[in-house]
């Protein structure tokens, strides 16, 4: 095959009969049995994803906080030790370089989870910005970490026998460093499916052992391996953007419905803020919207969006939703077309097919409710 990189579980995927595809230079399992069944398993019991292609980086040093606060849009001062924050890195034009998770280990130490295709450029960007700060070290540690995600209502009971950590006390968007099945891991209550679940960062060489212990212990909880195909459908049902598809470095947070992770008033400002102020003053021209097909057809990335015969935008993601059984999509439409129920048409292979604007998410979120209200926004 190609020169695509392999995760530590390549052999396991092949033995499980997965269909392997190349995804951003990585050979990944797209499905094991059926995308529809796999989505159902995650929504009803629990699914295990190999997402070892994701990038990890560490930023540490006396000025690590100042650096990260300045190069990300969310307010890092709101994050406590043991907390995880969803945030964006913007360029000077206010456009999104990447969306990422920041894990706060301490005031001078942060662990980052980055999109695989962006990891190298992200780390270079952070390192460049770090030159302005004395004593900050930025390291790409992606090759040291495998990453698994366990998602679904059975995730907590399933993990329980493998760790001493009190999982019932671990809030959404919080993490612990713990021993899981005899391996030291970072375990966070996060995910990309809208279900309760955990993401596990473990040593690259130990990923296989963690994976097989989870699959073994998970049998009685209905745990099954789940491919990237289902992961993509599940995230779209939740209206979560995928970098490189729904957002990229030509799109601003306001356009991408990500204004909630931009804290314009935070102290010291941040890269891209001036551009966002300007955009706000001049008016944002387009916005990411969700829609559901009422006519027959499935929207796909690149299809044009029309309203009363005029082109108003383009689809970025679309699928047949396994959970609600209807075709859904997201795309950018001219500003002012976001109202629930607005009639639109999608140009599917030259045919206008009716659709209607829907509020996101398409499927109700089942993530664990935080005990503290101030994290309610982290959805």
């Amino acid at each position: 095959m190609s020169h695509a990189r392999k995760t530590p579980l390549n052999k396991q995927h092949i033995e499980l009969g997965a269909r392997m595809v190349e995804f951003h230079g990585w050979l990944m399992p797209v499905q094991y049995t059926s995308i529809i069944d796999e989505c159902k398993i995650v929504r009803e019991s629990a699914g295990l994803f190999d997402i070892s292609h994701m990038g990890e980086a560490e930023v540490k040093g006396a000025h690590a906080f100042e650096l990260m606060q300045f190069i990300t849009s969310n307010d890092l001062s709101e994050l406590d030790e043991g907390g995880v924050q969803y945030t964006l890195m913007l360029n000077d034009e206010g456009c999104i370089l990447d969306d990422l998770l920041i894990y706060k280990i301490s005031d001078n130490r942060f662990f980052l989870c980055l999109n695989s295709a962006n990891t190298e450029s992200d780390v270079n960007w952070i390192a460049d910005q770090a030159l302005q700060y004395p004593d900050v070290e930025v390291r790409n540690i992606s090759r040291q970490y495998g990453m698994l995600s366990i998602q679904g209502p059975n995730s907590e009971p399933l993990l329980k026998p493998l760790t001493r950590s009190r999982l019932s006390e671990l809030d959404y968007y919080h993490f612990v460093t713990t021993a899981l099945g005899g391996h030291m891991v970072i375990l966070s209550r996060t995910g990309y499916t809208g279900e309760d679940g955990f993401e596990i960062y473990c040593d690259w060489r130990e990923t296989e052992s963690v994976w097989s212990q989870l699959l073994g212990k998970g049998k009685s909880f209905g745990l099954k391996p789940i491919g990237l195909g289902a992961r993509d459908a599940l995230r779209l049902e939740m209206g979560y953007s995928l970098y490189g598809q729904d957002v990229d470095s030509t799109i601003t947070p306001n356009e991408a419905r990500l204004g909630w992770v931009v804290k314009m008033d935070k102290q010291g400002g941040f890269i891209g803020r001036d551009a966002l102020v300007k955009q706000k003053a001049e008016g944002t021209k387009r916005r990411l919207v969700g829609f559901e097909m009422t006519g027959r057809g499935i929207p796909r990335s690149g299809y044009a969006i029309y309203k009363q015969g005029n082109k108003i935008g383009e689809v970025t993601s679309g699928t047949m939703s396994p959970t609600i059984g209807r075709a859904i999509g997201m795309g950018y439409a001219d500003w002012g077309n976001r109202t629930e129920g607005t009639r639109i048409d999608i140009d599917i292979r030259g045919k206008m097919v009716e659709a209607v604007i829907r509020k996101l998410p398409f499927v109700r979120s089942n993530v664990k409710k935080s005990r503290s209200l101030d994290r309610a926004s982290a959805g």
Partner: protein
């Protein structure tokens, strides 16, 4: 994987059952497996004229869209409208309930260029 002997096969993974000048066309067991869960099938209208190897519709899985090719020239005389509500029949029953269109062939000799079950099985093995 199953490839019935009474059918002929194309390189684009369609099968044809020829009976009295009418070709019933669908996609093979191999093709449905590769596509995964089929969630939408778009078919032509009855009466449409199709050229040889023209696209006659699409089959969509959760993730992908695939064009469907008509291996023989002719006029569409019937479509399997049950696929509109139950596209999964293409997965579960590709040679029977999962059929797609029936075409009145303009030139039945075009079938001679298609593969036998044995040749098609070999073709898949080689292209894998």
């Amino acid at each position: 994987m199953e490839f019935p002997d009474n059918l002929v096969y194309s390189k684009e993974h369609e099968w044809v059952l020829a009976e009295e000048g009418v070709a019933t066309i669908g996609i093979t067991d191999f093709a449905q497996g590769e596509l995964g869960d089929i969630v939408f099938v778009e078919l032509p209208e009855v009466g449409a004229d199709l050229g040889r190897n023209a696209t006659f519709g699409v089959a969509e899985s959760v993730k992908t869209v695939s064009d469907l090719y008509c291996p023989v020239e002719g006029e569409v005389v019937e479509i399997n409208s049950s696929l509109e509500d139950s596209p999964e029949q293409v997965n579960s029953n590709p040679y029977d309930k999962g059929w797609m269109i029936k075409v009145k062939m303009a030139d039945p000799s075009q079938l001679d260029d298609m593969m036998s079950a044995e040749d098609y099985a070999k073709y898949i093995k080689e292209s894998k």
